[in-house]
């Protein structure tokens, strides 16, 4: 049977399964900065379960966020509908995410407004693992330094 209507597509795709299969983190907040959803990736690296924190304010879940750039960016997305880039260089560890007990997950973030209804916006926090890029760039810089050293 051909699929040619958006409505069919919306019904046929289980978006929650798609998000849970993603290799990056997704956190969705409502207009009051309360947690609506995060995907398996976030549960895995935060070691927090979604079910326990759903409906909680993001600052309560992550007290580390108090007065940070990430919190300002969430405010920009929810109230001004403006997206933000949060770089690893300027914000080394915005969220408490860990690969193992002693190894922090190096990440960068994008915060994007999501239209919910005409006047209400939610926001999506998209988290990327940048560990490999950081390692690669440090290695290349070290090679370069050695090659130009007298």
């Amino acid at each position: 049977m051909p699929i040619n209507k958006q409505k069919d597509l919306d019904l046929d795709i289980n978006y929650r399964n798609v998000f849970d299969a993603c290799g990056f983190g997704i956190i969705i907040l409502d207009q009051y900065s309360r947690l609506l959803y995060w995907n398996n990736w976030v549960s895995k690296y935060s070691n927090y379960s979604l079910e326990k924190y759903i409906g909680e304010h993001i600052e309560i879940i992550f007290p580390i966020l108090d007065q940070t750039r990430l919190l300002n960016s969430i405010d920009d997305a929810l109230h001004y509908r403006l997206p933000s880039t949060i770089s690893h260089k300027l914000n080394p560890q915005p969220l408490p995410l860990f690969k193992s007990k002693d190894c922090a997950l190096e990440h960068s973030i994008r915060v994007v407004p999501l239209k919910h209804t005409d006047n209400v916006f939610h926001c999506m926090i998209e988290i990327s693992d940048v560990s490999a890029s950081v390692k690669r760039e440090n290695r290349l810089r070290n090679i370069l330094k050695k090659s130009i050293a007298p």
């Binding site: 920009d76 001004y80 403006l82 997206p83 880039t85 260089k89 300027l90 890029s133 950081v134 810089r141």
Partner: protein, 204 residues
């Protein structure tokens, strides 16, 4: 081509400058917290020029290549917002903010992302100030890093009626003065709407 001097008068440009400087205060506070040192941002000069004339308005000797950040926005007025630095100034910025001394050709994706974030903070401050004038929201796309030829960035065809709201920005970080430019490329209709809205705000 329209005569740019008629679109916004001096009183309107002053009012716009005041509003944008309030937004810059918030952006500077955000940057200061992040880089753990005092950052001062001011917009000393604001003018309207035709898109094709932007390169000659930037510096006495216009830079060939520029680095910067671009955000496309839509709403009551639409266009592209860009924060631009000459290549030399963008390196001074990276050095002042990150403490790194890296040649431009060696800027990695991590440094580019940091420049994108700085541009994003400043452009969001400008866009929210403009949105406040209208008491409306502007929708903006995710910021993009750019490193381009200045002439190509502002090239136009003969029928193009795009104007640019050009802001010279002064950054003071780590005892360094770094000049950058914020440009809003908009069509005549958008600029005319801004003009009408500033008049309303000033009670003219």
């Amino acid at each position: 081509m329209n005569d740019e001097t008629n679109i916004l008068n001096e009183i309107q440009l002053d009012a716009l400058g005041e509003l944008l400087n309030i937004g810059m205060g918030a952006a500077a506070a955000s940057l200061s917290t992040m880089v753990k040192q005092e950052v001062l941002l001011t917009v000393p000069v604001i003018r309207i020029v035709h898109q094709s004339k932007v390169p000659t308005q930037l510096d006495e000797v216009p830079p060939e290549n520029v680095c910067g950040v671009k955000q496309t926005f839509n709403g009551d007025f639409s266009g592209d917002a860009l924060l631009l630095f000459s290549e030399t100034k963008s390196l001074s910025l990276v050095q002042a903010v990150l403490g790194d001394s890296i040649p431009l050709e060696e800027l990695g994706e991590m440094e580019e992302e940091a420049i994108t974030e700085i541009g994003n903070i400043i452009l969001n401050a400008c866009l929210s100030s403009l949105a406040n004038i209208f008491n409306e929201h502007l929708d903006s796309e995710i910021p993009q890093y750019l490193h381009e030829d200045l002439g190509e960035l502002f090239s136009t065809d003969s029928n193009d009626d795009s104007f640019v709201l050009l802001l010279r920005m002064s950054f003071n970080i780590a005892e360094q003065d770094i000049t950058g430019y914020v440009t809003f490329i908009m069509d005549l209709e958008s600029i005319t709407k801004i003009s009408a809205q500033i008049n309303k705000m000033l009670g003219l």
